[in-house]
Structure formats: C-alpha cells, structure tokens
Amino acid sequence: MKKALLVALREYVENLRTKTFWIGIAFLPIILILSVVVPKLLSDVKDVRTYAVLDRSGWLLDEVDRRSAMPDLAAVYREVIELGPDSERAVELFPTEIRENVRVFLENTREFDEGKRDEMLDQAMGLLTSEKVAGIDPSALPEPQRKIFAAIAEYRERVNAWYRSLAPEEAARFGASLDRGRFTRASFPDATEEDLAKKLAAGEIFAYFVVGEDVVSNNEGSHYVSNNRTDEELRQWFTRYATQAIRERRFEERQIARADVEYIQAPVVFSREEISKTGERQSVGDQDVARAWAPVFFVYFLWISIFSIAQMLLTNTIEEKSNRIIEVLLSSISPVQLMSGKIAGIAFTGLTIVSSWILVMFLGIKFVLPDEHRCSFDLGHQGGTRSS
C-alpha cells in the first residue's frame, strides 16, 4: 500500500509538471472567457447605434417606444430592489421627480419572493408604459400591490418622460445591458426618406426604418436601410416590438378579445411532481432538478478530465515500457501495486483538474455572470442625475 502510494505521488507530481496538465486546467476557463467574456467585451465596445424612423402609419413608432421601454425599466427597478443595503443610494441616481415612485416600489416589494416580484414588475411596467393594461384591476389587488400600482399610475408620465429623454451615456450608468444604452432614436420630424438616406450616407445615423402606411394589413412600403450588412441587432430588436404592436392591432381589427388571445396562446403547463419514498406526490422545484443534475455534470467533468489525462497515462506507460524502467519498478514492487499506484496518481490528477474547473466556474458565476446578465448601477456617480 505504501509503495503504491509512492508510485501515485510520483505520477501526480510528474503530471503536474507536464504541459498537458496545465493546458487541461486552462481549457475550461479559456472556453468560459471565449463564450462569456469576449461577447460581453465586444458588445461593450460597440458604438451606440443611432437610428431614425419614418413612420407613415402614424402610430407604430409610439408603440415601439412604449414597449421597448418596459424591459429596461423593469431591469432598472429590479436592480434597485436587489441591491439591498445599497438600494437607497441607487435611488439617488434617479431624477428627483421620480425618486418617490421608486421608493414606493422598493418598500412594497421587499416582502415578496423573487418569482412573485418578477410577476409584479412585469405588470407594473405594463402599467407604467401604457394605460391599456388588460386583465389588471388595481382596485382588486391586495394592499402592497395596490400601493405600487397607485404610485405608478401617478408617476407614469414623469417616468416615461425621464426614460425617453435618457441619453445613452446616462443609461450606461444603469448597466450596459439596457437597450437604451445600445440603440438611440434620432428625431427628424419633417425628414423625407431621401433626407434619411443622405444622413445614412454621411454616417450621421446607423440605419433607418420606413414603416408603411397600412403596416397592419401588409408589408408594403416597410423597409430597413443600413450600410452595415452584419450587425442585425437593431433590426431584430425593432422588429420584435413592432410585431407585438401589429399583432395586437390585428386582434382588435378582427375583434378578438385580449382574453381570448391570451387563452389561445397560453401554453399547456404540466407541473413537475414526483412520488416520495413514503408514496406521496410532491412538487419538484428547480433546486431539486439542479441537485439531480449535479452528479451528471460531475461525471461529465470527470469524463472530460479522464480523456484529457489519458494521454498522460499513455505517454508515461509507453515511456516506462520502452526504456525498461518498468523492469526496475517491478524489481521493487508488484505489478498490482504499480498499476494501482499509477491509476491513483492519474485519478488525483483528474480530480485536481475537475476541482479547478469547478472553482473557476464558481468564481465565474460569482464575479463575471452577474455583470453580464443583470443591469449594474454605477453607484460612484451619485448626485450627477439630470432633472427633466
């Protein structure tokens, strides 16, 4: 046993000295960096894309503006809530005339869990950006929600005005992922399409949209013009909100009630349940699912690590066999001790690689991903807010 451990220790130390080991260690972080950090960096260095809209329909542009504001405002309010002890400082980033609204929201959502809070946020942002929020009767809501909705109704105009006037560089202080920080609409009230084409050619704008007169019925006269053939983000973003608005008009046109639409579109949901050891049905939460997947991920990591270190095992064994060190070893220990030691050494190496990967993933989730997926406030710029 002692001799097998000596062999294992030597194998482990030798493997640690190989390039293959360090390449194996660096493999996952490099993939993480390539897949997460690089796109984020590329996205951060992209210029704000200024666009113009020639709206011949007379209504679609307002709808797109309203609808596109919702996710941004929801992200900003959510971040204020989730900042916890720093929430009060974050509130100071807002202009004075809407701070009270943010505070009401903050104070009345603390007691809810994340799922409920998100649901309330979606409803509240709908109300904030539109008077037509179907299916919600604020007077029928319980106390905390009613307070929020009342405050939102009161502050709707001011919040909308603030958001619409928010400059891209100012939006960036609320987080790089806000649409407002990526796309900004330039207003040219009396411009013709020829004027917009000239501005595009002169580089004043990144792209322009022309919305056809009868955009609800057909696509005639609707087009997107840009000299950048590869960057599709703006076109897709605008199209998403425009499609939502047009679909709603079409439902109205055919006199299909919103409730009917929601009824038809509602997916079938099979709640997740399982039978416990005592024979009872019980619900399965996301954490339970994650726990069930954990061994699979561990085995997957182990599998990758075994494959990456199999090369080392092969190289070592070939070396020992070809230069007859194996004979010297077998003159000191038994073949069973030799092989068990080698396998243990390789296993320790694999576990080291897997552990380092798990550590890197943990650090990545803790320090990298939050910045990527949530809006992050720049609390160092307090007091610099602009009143509109």
Partner: protein, 303 residues
Amino acid sequence: MTSDTDDSLRIEGVTKRFGSFTAVSDFSMRVARGTVCGFLGQNGAGKTTTIRMVMSILYPDEGRITVLGSSRAEAVKDRLGYLPEEKGLYKKMRARELLAYFGRLKGLTRGEARQRAKSLLERYGLGEFMDSRCEALSKGMGQKVQVLGALIHEPELVILDEPFSGLDPVNVELMREIILDMKRDGRTVIFSTHVMEQAEQICDSIVLIHKGVKRLDGPLAEIKTGGVRGIRLDYDGDGALLRGIPGLARLNDAGKSAELFLEEGADPQAALEYLVGRVRIRRFDLREPSLHEIFVRTVGAPS
C-alpha cells in the same frame, strides 16, 4: 561444494518457453555469497530471460529459483538490486530525486533515501549534476545514475544486465570500480556481458549459456587452467605472416596482438623462430587461454 545457505542464487532445472520457442532449457546454476559471477552468452542465448526470471519479472515454466534463501523473489525484493539491459530513466526527474524514489521503493525512509542519493552521486562524480533533469545527462552519466539506483538500498545481491554496453573507456573503468566496491562490501554481483576482457578481470566464476542451455559453469581460474595453453603475442608487422607459423591450429589476431594455439605436439620454440625476422616481437608469452578463446571454442564460431 557450497551449501544452500552459502548461495545467494540457486537455479535448478529451469525451463522457459515462449510459444514453441524454448528460451531457456533445463538450466541450473549457483552463485556463492560475496562473489562476482559473469553470466556469458551470445545475443539471444537466454541471459536476459534467465535474469528476468530471477527478478520475478518472468516466471519459469519448470524448475525452481531460490534467491537469498527464498523461493519467492518478491519476498526479498528489497534485498535485491537490478540494472536492466536497456537503460532508461524518467527524463523529467532530477538525478537525486530519481535515486531517492528508487530507494524509497526499496523500503528506505525519505530522509535515508535522500541522504544516500546525495552521497552516492558525490562519491561517483555526479555531485554537480544532482539537481539536473535526467534528460540533460549524457548517456554515460545516465547509466551511472541507473546503476546507483540499483545500489542505493545497499542490496545483498546485485544483478546487472550488460552493465558495460555503450560506455566509454573511462566509464567502463568506473563501472568496474563500482562492481569491485560491491564485492569489497561483501555483496554478491551477477552481471551479463559480451566483453570477455571485463569478465576475465572481475569475475570469480562464470556461467556460459548458449541457445538456452548451460555450456560452462565454474570458478574462472579452474576453467582457464583446464583449457588448452596458448601463446600471447604482441607484435608489429604484417599479421598475414602469422598464418604460416608451423603447427598453427588456431589464430585470434587483433592486429597488434594475437593469441596462437598450436597443434598437439607442435613446438612453441619453432613458432618463435618462424616469427623472428618476419615481424617485430614485443611479447611472446606461453599462457592459459583467454576467456575470449574459451568462449569462442565453447559456443563455436559466430554464424
């Protein structure tokens, strides 16, 4: 005749087959404690196979091997030292680290192993390469490190398979010194070799194996005494003239020196008279046959 307890190694009627090929056939030998035994034979004679069986790397199909009084070599592995025929080291390991590792595998403590590795390397002129990686050592230095690896645990029986192969004259001398040191320390040494001069100078006894069968076995002095006496000649001149020596039965000519064997009844004085005036004689010595001659006579001319 030696008793069992006086033998470091005793092989009795051992046979080893690889498929239909018999590598070693009914082979027996004894090596007394504290002696140096030369294990001689041509390439493919069965030397390495026999050594591997002694080291329990291979197992005999028939017969019995007793090493240091034990019928199981595994039980006495820590008292054995072994240098295989093909020398190799872990390239990335440092010389001292490697020796200490071999020592620990032989049961030494970490401290003992490191200390002995250091003193051995210093004693045999490798002190300054103690922390060099094995891949940076020359072939001779690497071979020395491997020999020291076989000695670090101060074994009672050391088996060296072709220890002189590939060494330059200086390192051959050093290797001979190492073997004689082991003998002086009372260890038993068995080494296989093709270099008859080395075996002749170092060995107390020899065993000659040919095509898996033992052909000669015994103390070197007895073997040489029992052989046909020959003439050792050192000369300058045309070696072709040596073939005209009257009564010449056999000639081993190395260019500047030669070994002559005369037919039974032939007069060495007549041979000397023939040579005078034909070549310049530096030495003319009637003596026992060399081990080389014994080897060649025993196994026959190489095919």
